[in-house]
């Protein structure tokens, strides 16, 4: 998407709440308004009970901008958005979603949601983020079939619904550890409780696919997972675990050039490449989280771990956020860290130039960094929040962190500190 259409998209996003307000104000008066007395007009517009079962349309949007302090790098949400060519960049955080809920009887409903956000391919084409039929088997057990959010993290369900979160975006150190968005399959929501404690048990099964920047795709299949969350008063605890077969196929020019070079110089090329790309992977992912929200203080902590047999590194990440509400202002401080436990590959060929390219490729797959974020949320208008945050990140070792080098083959990312400034407006409608 070019610069102008991107700006137009962004402007259209912000127009939404005001357009909606205008639509309400400009509604023509009720036909009977001048004839009928007010109370009758009022009751004439009341829908019959049956009409109340009609579908409901609502939505959410964020217009977000990130400015990066270093010219040779771009801030990205790894495997989520396309490395932007602009600074400041509207790509990482800007999103709009439209949500519809259509009842199919007393126990069933069809839920459809389309979102538009910058993909890894740089497109804002809308995609179905939810498309499922839910059925309440009992008052406490719901089964959903179709496309749901893949619930790997504590806050997976609100990754795009920034209004529901204190930050501009969930900390990238943690939330880039597993970039998949949707799960095509089935899940169960089982709610139970003891005294004032609410427990939700959430098993799921399905598959996910994600396109890769510069070409290729990443695929999870036969994914099975179980989440348990326990809420008591202001405290919510979350634990989740998932296992999945994993395929990662690179077909971008950089990878094809690297493959060709390896094939030309070493008989071991197939073995080296087989650790980078293929469809014989297996991954496990675990998350542990806690939230405290007593109305004044909001504390969030999450720890996640990824282990993968091939194609992606083993890593763990954590974040801790402390936020305090002062009227409509909620300042927050976040500390986060992403640590690689085992790189994708440590192979070498003995040929300096090719090893350099191989190292650069593997470094680009390493997201290790730590950061401190200081920001504030300002609920300045109904259903609308303005957020401003400053992030100071330090890349750890041979890694690219949450950044993408403008010149990948000559990137100097090692142990760098990079500052970013973000501004966003979140709305729900």
């Amino acid at each position: 998407m070019n610069r102008i259409s991107r700006a137009a998209f962004a402007a259209a996003l912000l127009m939404l709440p005001s357009l909606r307000a205008a639509a309400v104000e400009e509604q023509p008066p009720h036909p009977g308004a001048t004839l009928a007395p007010a109370p009758e007009r009022d009751s004439a517009s009341i829908p019959e009970p049956d009409e109340m079962r009609l579908s409901q349309i609502s939505g959410f949007a964020t217009l977000g901008m990130v400015a990066t302090g270093s010219r040779d790098v771009r801030f990205i949400r790894p495997s989520v958005n396309h490395p932007g060519g602009e600074n400041p960049d509207f790509g990482p955080d800007t999103v709009i979603g439209v949500h519809g809920d259509i009842p199919l009887g007393p126990r069933a409903a069809l839920v459809l949601q389309a979102i538009s956000r910058e993909s890894t391919l740089g497109s804002f084409d809308p995609r179905a983020s939810l498309a499922f039929v839910s059925y309440a088997v009992t008052p406490n057990v719901t089964v959903r079939m179709g496309r749901v959010r893949v619930p790997f993290f504590m806050l997976s369900e609100t990754i795009d619904i920034n209004y529901a979160n204190p930050w501009i975006r969930p900390p990238t150190e943690v939330y880039s550890l597993n970039p998949f968005n949707e799960l095509d399959g089935i899940d169960f929501l089982v709610r139970t409780g003891i005294g004032g404690v609410n427990i939700e048990i959430h098993p799921y099964y399905g598959s996910s696919i994600l396109p890769i920047y510069q070409g290729g795709h990443s695929h999870l299949s036969n994914t099975r997972g179980l989440n348990i969350s326990v809420a008591a008063g202001p405290l919510t605890l979350f634990v989740g675990h998932a296992e999945s077969e994993f395929a990662l196929k690179w077909s971008g020019n950089d990878f094809l050039a690297l493959s060709a070079a390896l094939n030309a110089v070493t008989p071991n090329a197939a073995n080296i490449l087989g650790k980078l790309s293929g469809n014989d992977g297996f991954s496990t992912f675990s998350a542990l989280g806690a939230q405290w929200d007593d109305g004044r203080w909001l504390l969030i902590g999450e720890y996640t771990r990824l282990n993968s047999r091939r194609y992606t590194h083993d890593a763990h990440a954590w974040e801790v956020t402390v936020a305090r509400r002062f009227g409509n202002f909620t300042p927050y401080l976040t500390l986060a860290r992403h640590t690689e436990d085992e790189p994708v590959s440590t192979d070498t060929t003995g040929i300096a130039q090719i090893d350099g390219a191989l190292r650069a490729f593997i470094a680009s797959r390493n997201l290790s960094q730590r950061s401190v974020t200081l920001g504030t949320r300002w609920d300045f208008y109904r259903n609308t929040a303005l957020k401003l945050e400053f992030n100071h990140a330090r890349i750890s070792g041979e890694s690219w962190g949450s950044f993408f080098a403008r010149d990948p083959m000559n990137a100097r990312m090692r142990d760098r500190s990079i500052n970013t400034l973000g501004v966003s407006v979140d709305v729900t409608f």
Partner: protein, 153 residues
């Protein structure tokens, strides 16, 4: 780059200047409602505990203990609604909205039906089977039954 930045700044300014036309921002901590609030139903529903009511209006359950599905009716955004949620759940308007946006946009529950006015809320409550809503204590209606009284101050 300048065009993009310009468009962003323009959009933010446009929003901030047009927004107040539709009404002021909700300010948690302010807007105390002198009258108490009552939770009401049209009938059919016999009893409702305070805990059940809080769970319903926080989207933590969609049915009564006996499995009866209920329709929730919200008053339009404003002091009466804010007072109700603060009394029942202890949450301010921003927390309530953030909570519902999480639940609704993840496809877990439907939000309460928002009435355009108090009189519409009254009508919806009276006409809809198994509807639960809330009203200022002095806005009662013969067709409605009071299930819970939240505050008398």
């Amino acid at each position: 780059m300048h065009n993009t930045l310009g468009a962003f700044v323009f959009s933010v300014l446009a929003l901030m200047t047009t927004a107040p036309l539709a009404g002021p921002a909700e300010t948690p901590g302010k807007a105390a409602q002198p009258a108490g609030v009552v939770i009401v139903t049209s009938g059919g529903i016999k009893v409702l505990s305070r805990e059940e009511a809080a769970q319903l209006f926080l989207g933590q359950r969609t049915t009564l203990r006996d499995g009866t599905p209920v329709t929730l009716i919200d008053l339009p955004a404003g002091p009466a609604r804010n007072h109700f949620y603060r009394e029942l759940t202890g949450k301010n308007p921003v927390q309530v909205r953030a909570n519902w946006s999480r639940l609704v946009f993840s496809g877990r529950v439907r939000p309460p039906r928002e009435a355009a006015s108090q009189s519409e809320a009254l009508e919806l409550l009276a006409r809809t089977p198994n509807a639960i809503g809330y009203l200022p204590a002095d806005a009662g209606d013969k067709r409605l039954k009071v299930l819970l009284s939240l505050s008398e101050n």
